[in-house]
Symmetry: D2
Subunit: 361 residues, 4 copies
């Protein structure tokens, strides 16, 4: 595998560049009989769509997804599912100016050294535009998981220096930040306005949870559920850190504090984030991810060109001042894809021994 496939039994393979004719994906291993229509996928795509608020890139892409195979009479058939989104708003001329330059903190320099050549238009394959297909595929996984009582949701838990406490799920969908605390939204808006004036960008922290996951998902020892979640989440553009449960806070905790005790009525805490020994425990799965600030800012930066000469780079184009703002649906998608893959792998191997021990509620 050369990097464009995620998952093992339920797999997503994608293609597409920022300014190419189209983005596309093939989903393989989807069980038959899952109700899937373009409207459901479109709903998720609209959540991450560019141009949907004044705090994100002004590129206008309708992101209309087409299902090209694998669905017949409204349900999946079990064969591979082809998806496609045509690109419509590519202004490639925006980029010809930086054709020979390496924008700092972008993948320009590394792609150039990896492949010896690159599609420089809008970052080519390294553009976050690629994540649209993750969201479309994640919508199918979410639908499948929902049919088994599993729900994956996410929210913004920090924007730059502003921490955000979880308040309620309804609020998340009512502001462009996926902020779960409606009272914080004005502060976030003010911060973003200031950022725009400063011609700068900032990082964000996103939290994703999955409720209703049965115990038993995850494959020891290398394909632990948390390890593959970390893989999936870290593969999202701009992500620099991943935590499961208490994450880095666990470093300073004592065992007597961290261990989640059990009683017949359930676990007494969830420091572990729903994963023990790499396998889901039946508790809510909790993950946090750190996104770095957008690299494309209009403040000039020092760099070199492909001849090794020094240049000053100003990235104009149309960019998100905080890539984290649109990252919530993408993080949800990666968690849903990971869970679905593990659900299928688990039931492939394990159904010969009946488990009679009651599950903790």
């Amino acid at each position: 595998m050369s990097g464009n496939t995620f998952g093992k039994l339920f797999t997503l393979t994608t293609f597409g560049e920022s300014h190419g004719p189209a983005l596309g994906a093939i989903i393989d291993g989807c069980p038959p009989g899952v109700p899937v229509d373009e409207a459901t996928l479109q709903h998720e795509l609209d959540r991450r769509r560019p141009g949907s608020s004044r705090f994100t890139t002004q590129r206008r892409e309708p992101d209309r997804v087409r299902i090209l195979s694998g669905v017949f009479e409204g349900v999946t058939t079990g064969t591979s599912i082809g998806l496609m989104i045509e690109n419509t708003d590519q202004r490639s001329k925006d980029y010809s100016r930086i054709k020979d330059q390496f924008r700092p903190a972008h993948a320009d320099y590394t792609y150039h050294h990896k492949y010896g050549l690159r599609d420089y238009r809008g970052g080519g394959r390294s553009s976050a535009r690629e994540t649209a297909m993750r969201v479309a595929a994640g919508a199918i996984a979410k639908q499948y998981l929902a049919g088994r009582g599993i729900r994956v949701r996410g929210y913004m838990s920090q924007l730059g220096p502003i921490g955000i406490e979880f308040r309620d799920w309804q609020a998340v969908d009512e502001n462009p930040f996926f902020c779960p605390d409606p009272d914080k939204v004005p502060e976030l808006e003010d911060y973003m306005e200031q950022l725009r004036r400063d011609q700068d960008s900032v990082g964000a922290k996103i939290s994703v949870v999955a409720e209703g996951v049965p115990p038993g998902l995850g494959e020891p020892v290398f394909d632990r559920l948390d390890a593959e979640l970390a893989h999936g989440l870290m593969s999202i553009n701009a992500v620099k850190g991943v935590e499961i449960g208490d994450g880095f806070a666990a470093v300073a905790q004592r065992g007597s504090e961290h261990r989640d005790e059990m009683t017949p009525d359930g676990f007494l805490s969830n420091h572990a984030g729903g994963v023990l020994g790499g396998i889901s425990s039946g508790q809510t799965i909790i993950a946090h991810l750190a996104l770095k600030p957008t690299s494309s800012i209009t403040t000039p930066g020092r760099s070199i060109d492909i001849h090794g000469e020094p240049v000053e780079v100003i990235t104009r184009g149309r960019h998100d001042p905080c890539v984290g703002i649109r990252a919530t649906p993408i993080a949800e998608a990666m968690m849903a894809l990971t869970l679905m893959d593990h659900l299928l792998r688990h039931r492939g191997q394990n159904q010969d021994v009946a488990v009679t021990t009651p599950r903790l509620s």
Copy 2:
């Protein structure tokens, strides 16, 4: 794949339970001609060996590794390499008492629900004893990488509440904590003594770096180098968080601060931790990992048994009061394995276009 294999072109597959007859591994895809001998592997194994200081488990395992194939006349042949370590100090009777109990924060409950049955002796497959084979395989990867100017090293950067600044590499090997600041060692010793008196355990933070990595390693978009590092590091027992470069600190950073500017003389900073767009940049690769406190403590804890009845659990056995103490060689091994896999994958795909742009030193 069912979870016991790591890597794609250079792969490690392992077996073995804490109290079974042996641990073993098969390494596939190792290039021919690499000098490998048991002494080199043994050296790395001795670094993580149990019973090597009073701050780790008192289980005495010589961890003698045997090379069973793939090496002929002192060098690898390119065929699969078989490794084995016989277990010698299994006191299984220590565990019969907890046969029907689920120890809190252990994998007992989750393995039971996954498989319907489990080897309860010392955690069976979920024991950190499994990591011995990672270290043995990592020694081969390290040796290969060293031949190409790449060096992977790690150190403890936090023990419970005690932060540790990096001072020098030589210190790391001169104390049982892999502590890079010799002046901190007495404080760490005192803390561990107190912990023992409290019958408790604590978490730790480990940092791993790779110097000399050429630009170009990592496969977009899902198998980015940072994503697969996160996968490998999160798959280590007790790890709850992974950061690349500035990690979670990037959340509060601005783009003008985070982006690592370039001049013909090199990068001006390394917030990215050596990875841009998922591909190595030629800078030092930097990763941090958070380990939770050891779950096995002698302080009684509430739990349930396999019949769902409440029980009080005291984990006696022989345990590390801080699993993080022996984690440094394991983290190094996972980074070395990841880099080697990516080196081979990269050169499989990419050598048809010559890169003429100078690399930054």
Copy 3:
């Protein structure tokens, strides 16, 4: 992996049903810098295109391929390549009649039992129409291999009872049968006419060879070159047998006859078909494949319906009376894909030891 991906480092993943909106593919792991254009792909597609002679199905599909990603300024970029062919001539009403019936020797019964439901229009995913994407991807592999002096070609070596000796390559492209002996073509035409009058179909044998393959390709012990060729060739619709070199004739041979002796001037024979111990020897790779007769014939056949009741099935639609006639470009594609994958895998693992022994010419 759920079956729609071929290869390991250079991979082809496909989607598409006979009567869905489109067929598509993602090629991953293609080296950068390979000249690729739609015309080259189209040339190969035209060789297998339906409706191109009176001896093949009368379905008229232009099979226009679009390259959607991974190619920039005329060459591959190293990122995933998306391909698509829109279906245009689907007459789905032809099939509604057999919606509840299992056509004998088709995949209807087995897909139904595998998935519980199926796209019955023209065989859905099980249609040989799927092979178009193999041919398009194979064209890229052929182009890459050609740049390294490797040439993959095939021909029909038997049509029903009529054996065909190899005469010359030029003849192959000058008749619709891919027949290498121009003098045999009239006999083949007469046979096909008779077959049409008999409302019947027949099998065929195809031979594929690769010249210029360097020694060393193939991965012991399970991914031998011949094993993966057998995998690829047997995965073509209707194939029931695969031979490498002398194949089944080797059963009655003696070792003194079969072994290909070597002199400094080269091998003295090629019974092995270019593969020794699963690794290419530098000789011409030779494979033969057996295709069964087309299952869709207008002669009525006994079968059952989805309720288990007996029915009489007559397959009208538009069908090839000999699926083997269009199989040559498909077999070439599978051999080219297999060789390219192995070339990349081989060079990923093996370039640390210099081979000084001269290669046999």
Copy 4:
């Protein structure tokens, strides 16, 4: 993957050279609760063991298998299973003479060009001795399949020029040839005696069948059951051809003859060999494989050495005059491993839609 792993969800990875210290394997993905003991594995190993009759190599290997992990209290635990056989009767000095020579029709020349160096003792990794681990792993698969009513058996169907009709299964285990016709055994013995006097070797044809396989196994389009069977069987040393069902005989058949008609009472024939569209039909799976004559014969042969100079090679050592004689248990193992992998993959993906159509008996 670098070639030493077979299967996708249920996987076998092996190591070991002919004259190294040991052979070994790791089986991953085995469901928990399968009764496994060393005696069962030993029984299968004894069927392929060298030195068991005067018609096979006189190397004396007890082939004692040890189970090192993954089995607890007599049943599998679901974790990876480690197996090992120590080599005991290596006479490496037999081989030092041919250290610099390439034996004709062996893998010497190709391994040398692939890796640049090789373990020349007894063929190293390319020795058929490697197949012992396939048989051991196959024994576990057979046991699992037997618990689900699936039985895999094989027999010799041709020895050199002598065709053998199937008579009965009991006979197969009562002679060293796995010959199903007891009346043919004297003829086979005479032929082998003559062969020995001629200092020559000969090929063989083996047939393998699986009864009780449910419909639905096999993954379209590339991982069809027949394609993966072909992969597995072709990966056995010396195999040059694989047929499913009628195989190459289908070339001359007409559609009206080949198609297996169905009635509510079942299929009326089995030309397809139990696979339609790459998916099992519920009929008996039938495969045939062609093995070339043993390459090691004492009749001198022309070859070259590693310097490219001409040499005359006489292979003394201890060799099977017909490698096909011991191939039956190996072919059974590969079929059992393939079926088990597909059974698990199928049930991972497909159990959301209930199939109500009756299965044909």
